[in-house]
Symmetry: C2
Subunit: 301 residues, 2 copies
């Protein structure tokens, strides 16, 4: 699992501060999460292959999470894309993108499939053999979802020494990896636990931005390996947070602690502060495992 931060700053794009966008690589999938203006240039800088992105998730329709999407969709067309592109985002996103394409008479030459979200309850929006994605309803000024990515449990690992000992033929290996017991020719039953090891624990990642401090999300993200939580403000501006429906570094840390997450990544920083290290310092007073997002930064998780 690898997370590449393309942009992690609040509000307007600046020369050195890109609005929210990130790429999660999980089980060989690339998921693009949010798409502020400039995302496609940031993708190029991070040398991420455009053709590997088949799913884009948009948390909410504020410009700093969304205004790069029409351009990225157009660029996919210019690059000759043929693969399906799936867009997950709040209701209205299809009308908006479709209008922009219509005005430019620039329809895509690849299938563009919208999955519009309107539920205020968590819902599973994606599932395959490797990964599931579930929404995390957030508390922001407009309809907003975070996203919880979970690896599916992998198949069990073959105990090579054990299958050799019982002289089990290769043709049974897949059944064994799937958890089946084996009956030998002498009718002896070999329990699966003797033939396999547990698979690695499935990894999980939760993206929560933008949101005010909301204890409602805690049960949804309990025990995740990595939580990305917005921290627009420091304590000095903590009164602004509930008004603007954003969170402080300490609030993000309190959520991380209550949800017992493995690691907290802070992002969506206001550009008013001289140093990002202040965010880490304030969060660490509550929760120890804190990392700071930054544009172009990669986390091997």
């Amino acid at each position: 699992m690898k997370l590449t931060i393309l942009g992690c700053y609040a509000a307007t794009p600046r020369s050195l501060n890109n609005p929210t966008s990130q790429v999660l690589e999980i089980k060989n999938h690339l998921f693009l999460i949010d798409c502020g203006e400039g995302t496609q240039v940031q993708l190029r800088k991070s040398k991420i292959k455009f053709s590997r992105i088949n799913h884009i998730l948009i948390s909410h329709l504020h410009g700093d999470h969304f205004f790069g999407l029409p351009g990225l969709i157009s660029t996919f067309r210019l690059l000759g894309r043929t693969n399906e592109l799936h867009i997950y985002g709040p209701q209205g996103i299809k009308e908006a993108i479709t209008l922009f394409l219509k005005l430019g008479d620039s329809w895509t030459n690849y299938p563009l499939i919208f999955h519009e979200l309107s539920s205020t309850e968590p819902e599973k929006i994606y599932e395959d053999k490797k990964v599931t994605i579930t929404t995390i309803p957030l508390d922001h000024r407009i309809y907003t979802n975070g996203f919880l990515f979970k690896e599916q449990l992998a198949e069990r690992k073959l105990n090579i020494a054990a299958v050799a000992k019982y002289k089990i033929d290769k043709c049974y290996f897949q059944n064994i990896k799937n958890g089946k017991d084996i009956v030998l020719e002498n009718n002896q039953v070999i329990r699966n636990a003797l033939l396999t090891f547990d698979p690695p624990a499935p990894k999980s990642y939760a993206f929560c931005s933008d949101t005010a401090y909301s204890e409602k999300i805690i049960p949804l993200i309990i025990n995740v390996d990595v939580l990305y939580h917005e921290a627009t403000f420091l304590e000095s501006e903590r009164k602004l947070a509930p008004k603007t429906k954003h969170a402080t570094a300490k609030e993000a840390a309190a959520i991380a602690k209550a949800a017992n997450v493995g690691m907290l990544i802070l992002g969506h920083f206001s550009t008013r502060y001289a140093s990002l290290e202040l965010f880490r310092e304030e969060a660490k007073t509550i929760f120890p495992m804190v990392e700071l997002a930054d544009d172009g930064k990669e986390f091997e998780l």
Copy 2:
């Protein structure tokens, strides 16, 4: 008159290639022409004050000329703008921008005034005491206008020595600058030509992008001081030009020559070429006064 190129490349934004946008400073007005993705960051890099921009002209609704506009309008709001902002562009632009603002529940706190264009004949879309702007209908894949900026003729310059000689009181000076003759107390008429000098010749600038080679525009831009004409292709790709409704460097030069312009600036370059100098070389075989646009480049005209 000063022209700042914010972006001058065709198609998709890249790390070092911004799509079309430029700022024309003329008689203390700043006009923003086109607004591809990344325009607001380019404005910051060029240290252009956002608050000085009150008029934005959009040639057409292809993404590389337009997708930076929702973000710029939102940024004006975040910066606390109160001045009116006037947007001139093809019909549909109001619906598109309004939908994006509505989806984000992010209405502007300043007056946003749309002037939607649909005429295929040249029309005067702006006039004040200093400047006029007239559309230049272009030949592109979708409805597209270029823009002709003309300084208004300034008032005549007072001949200080002459007014002293005739002992003319200061209170008549404005009338004289406005071109009036003067009647002295002895009823002698002093013709204005004796009291004034001609004002400087009004400057003019024509922006023509995107367009195929079109001789129809020649009478509209005859004798302009500076012509910005798109040159997406070199001769090696000249067969692509009419198909995509773009022009080559030589075609731009042919228009410049036929319209007897003072200077030609080439832009809207395809990024397929190794060197921009090739555009200059090809254009110069037809028209001598050729300059190349480049992102961040400033032309004092």
